[in-house]
């Protein structure tokens, strides 16, 4: 019996054997990668609901999937299904409806939205009851199977577990805008511990609905540069003014190297390291000295067992908010030092917007495509560089580069910071 392949910390090596993606650029890796490397934007005016009177009226919506009657959870589930289907097709693992490992799912909040709330209210037309008493009376009076099915936190995971036959308890996780990276980290840890030989890790988010848009807007987090939409997201530019909300899903099939080898699977890359660190400074801002972000990046690099100067490319969190991009630069500089000057860094969000809970997974898929294709996608809309952020942001056009090791960052409200190191085998 040959010895199992171990990393330099003596742990099982975790590889990626399938990936799938859906964003506002389209369905699947081919369409996404073609447009992403061509510098195309998926940001457009919102048509899903009337936006009259709103400060922000643009988003990276996913409109290419037929989800039946629209609701945010219906789209969350449909995007996750599509991404997972693509990843499973590529990995050719298990059999239809039977995946040999657990599901780790990053999902947005699931709650009733205004259309559903108003329909419930109307069910009791003429009723004297007011407020929630009336909604509760409507809920009592008859079953609401569609709402039952979709508006529970476990709903998305339950649908996916049923469809793909994943093993054990499906796990739904939230670390806000770092959730996608955390879902991958959960899979990596399970395989390293030997709890599983394979894991299906998905990040999915369909938050472009009225109230979520207004809430982010009220936090002054969103770009208000509505016209033209494709120029709004401009990470690392001096005149960046906020992120653009977007939808999408990314899925990765993780496997223990030896199991993947044994079944002859093609290996797309290695998840070498994961790092996280919580911030205690503020609900929406990071410590001014960057301690927590620096901690997450350092922990990921240390976990990967690589030197900072081995990072060939950085897939930035790069949201295009004044705060994030400045803090991300300061933290990268602290960890990478002069090596940062020589390292290309780009933000997919300049083109697809911020896919929130899905971002870490979507951007991990794109990072792996950079490794396989030797191409770094650009940061578009970089016309007015911020002199305080002197980095090689691969402006406007993609670049050929030998990419062996990628650092991918994800940060979120509530002091969430997670980084991944993805590498060629």
């Amino acid at each position: 019996m040959t010895r199992e392949m171990r990393d330099n910390k003596g742990r099982r090596v975790v590889v990626v054997t399938g990936t799938g993606v859906v964003t506002s650029l389209g369905l699947g890796k081919n369409e996404n990668w073609t447009k992403l490397t061509a510098g195309r934007s998926g940001i457009r005016r919102i048509t899903r609901f009337p936006t009259e009177g709103l400060r922000t009226v643009i988003a990276g919506t996913v409109d290419c999937l037929d989800v039946g009657p629209y609701s945010a959870p219906a789209l969350t589930i449909a995007m996750a299904m599509a991404a997972a289907q693509e990843a499973l097709g590529e990995a050719a693992i298990g059999s239809a409806g039977s995946f040999p490992g657990p599901l780790y799912l990053a999902t947005p909040p699931a709650e009733l939205e205004w259309p559903q709330r108003r329909l419930l209210w109307e069910e009791r037309a003429g009723d004297e009851l007011t407020g929630y008493k009336r909604l509760l009376a409507a809920a009592r009076a008859s079953r609401h199977e569609e709402l039952e099915e979709k508006f529970q936190f476990a709903s998305a995971a339950e649908h996916l577990a049923r469809r793909f036959g994943t093993r054990g308890l499906p796990v739904s996780v939230s670390t806000a805008c770092a959730s996608g990276a955390t879902a991958i980290q959960l899979g990596v840890e399970a395989i390293r511990r030997g709890d599983a030989d394979a894991a299906l890790c998905i990040g999915t988010d369909s938050s472009v609905q009225l109230e979520a848009l207004i809430r982010f807007s009220l936090l002054s987090a969103l770009s208000t540069r509505n016209d033209p939409p494709e120029l709004a997201s401009r990470p690392f530019s001096k005149d960046r003014d906020g992120f653009v909300m977007a939808e999408g899903a990314g899925a990765l099939i993780l496997e223990a190297y030896d199991s993947a080898r044994a079944r002859g699977a093609a290996i797309l890359g290695v998840v070498k390291g994961c790092g996280e660190k919580a911030d205690d400074f503020h609900r929406t801002r990071s410590r001014p000295d960057g301690t927590a972000i620096i901690g997450a990046i350092r922990n990921a690099i240390e976990d990967a067992g690589v030197r900072p100067d081995e990072i060939d490319y950085i897939n930035a969190h790069g949201t295009s908010t004044p705060e994030n991009d400045k803090m991300e630069y300061l933290s990268l500089k602290a960890v990478l030092g002069d090596h940062l000057d020589k390292t290309p860094i780009s933000s997919n969000k300049s083109m697809i917007g911020h896919t929130l809970s899905a971002a870490g997974a979507v951007e991990a898929v794109f990072s792996l495509l950079s490794i396989s294709n030797g191409v770094v996608p650009p940061t578009i809309n970089y016309r007015n560089p911020d002199p305080d952020i002197p980095m090689d942001v691969v402006p406007d056009t993609s670049r050929s580069a030998s990419v062996r090791t990628v650092l991918s960052n994800s940060f979120g409200f509530g002091g969430q910071n997670a980084s991944l190191v993805l590498a060629a085998l």
Partner: protein, 404 residues
């Protein structure tokens, strides 16, 4: 998962509920007062009874009013309980330990602005342009800070902020299974050597109509008058209870090195998702039991049950207990849902907390109700089985054991 390579100790517990605040208050009421002991409000949300949170002085654990204002009640309850747990474990204020305390929470939805919702619903029908009205009403009516009160991960975020626990922060979701996943995640990370010190917990504010609406849409609520979980009749139903519960879980080695006392050891935990179909009776609980506790000798078996009162799963749990009986175990079951209410995401964690409390006091709770399902148990259990069955999906079991 059977016996763990690194033993997991429970070295701190923070608990607030309708029964009071802290372990002594819970022990006094639950172990000494004869049944029935629930604290229930049947009026406020009629026809739905709820277990209201005992009065707590949040300023004791959340001293800054600016912090209090940035949270909704479920977060304040949780942050408060987390502070109790950290203090109990001797970690509060110790920045070296807090800096590497990994926070793992189980959380659901945050709280909505119910008054705004009601205003909009009542006015929108008469508007000439309802969509424009809705946009304006929300853009001017929603409080910016409310969103942060609504994000699931902001319980963990506020714990990092207020108590400075900043190793890492992960929030699990999915009703009851969020609690199972949170505990299991911490236990497995300790067992796998991926961390030594964890703060694990959750909170529910049961006293809100948006929560009740979510449960009622699922057909899961019990309608008054109050009855114990075993006696809710054919359709069954849960009675939500306000709870904040946090545990400090620690590797035995780490706890011993810093001289921390253990309430109990969290010996093993297992979870699964049975395909629940109409008419299916077997949720695979016996297999999970064998995985975590199969080595236990037959005889009396203390069981802290997370049963919700919702059917058919409550009946399925009783069938599992009868199956244990058939194997020579004599389950002395206590359904903490009867006395604390059902706490959804936090419910399983509350069960682990009560089990650890009983083990550490070397005594057991007398029956929580008079249904006859809960039988007296002589003596002090060394092990307690904790069950956590989702009211609509997911199953988890854990074994809590004396740590000596």
């Amino acid at each position: 998962m059977s016996a763990l390579p690194h033993d997991v100790w429970i070295t701190g517990i923070g608990l607030v509920s309708s029964q009071g605040e802290g372990l002594d208050a819970h022990w006094d009421r639950l172990a000494r007062v004869p049944a029935p002991r629930p604290v229930v409000d049947e009026e406020r949300f009629a026809p739905y009874p709820v277990h209201p949170l005992a009065t707590i002085d949040v300023a004791r654990e959340i001293p800054k009013t600016s912090d209090q204002r940035q949270m909704e009640q479920w977060q304040r309850t949780g942050v408060y309980a987390a502070g109790l747990a950290l203090a109990d474990a001797g970690i509060a204020g110790n920045s070296e330990l807090l800096n590497r305390t990994d926070v793992v929470t189980a959380a659901g939805n945050g709280e909505r602005d119910l008054a705004l919702d009601a205003r909009v619903l009542e006015a929108i029908g008469a508007q000439p342009a309802p969509d424009v009205y809705l946009n304006r009403a929300l853009a001017t009516g929603l409080r910016p800070t409310l969103y942060l009160g609504q994000l699931s991960n902001l319980l963990a975020g506020n714990i990092s902020l207020v108590h400075k626990a900043t190793g890492s922060s992960r929030t699990f979701k999915g009703e009851e299974m969020a609690g199972v996943a949170a505990v299991e995640n911490a236990v497995r990370r300790i067992a796998g050597g991926e961390g030594e010190l964890f703060l694990v917990g959750g909170a529910l504010n049961a006293e809100r109509e948006d929560l009740l609406l979510g449960c009622e849409l699922d057909g899961a609520l019990h309608r008054g008058p109050f009855r114990s979980v075993w006696a809710r009749g054919e359709g069954g139903g849960l009675v939500p209870g306000s709870i904040g519960v946090f545990l400090v879980l620690e590797s035995e080695v780490h706890a011993a090195l810093r001289g921390a006392k253990a309430y109990a050891s969290l010996r093993s935990i297992a979870s699964d998702r049975a395909a629940r179909r109409a008419g299916s009776t077997d949720l695979g609980l016996m297999r999970l039991f064998d995985e975590i506790a199969g080595g236990l000798p037959p005889g009396p078996l203390a069981v802290l049950s997370g049963v919700s009162g919702v059917e058919p799963v409550t009946g399925q749990e009783r069938a599992f207990l009868q199956g244990l009986e058939a194997r020579g175990y004599h389950p002395a079951v206590r359904a903490h849902g009867t006395v604390l209410g059902h706490a959804l995401e936090a419910h399983f964690i509350a069960g682990v907390a009560l089990a650890a409390l009983a083990v550490s006091r070397q005594a057991y709770f007398p029956p929580f109700d008079v249904s006859g399902v809960e039988r007296p148990l002589e003596g002090a259990p060394r092990q307690i089985l904790v069950t956590g069955l989702g009211h609509w999906r997911g199953e988890g079991l854990a074994l809590v054991e004396a740590a000596d």
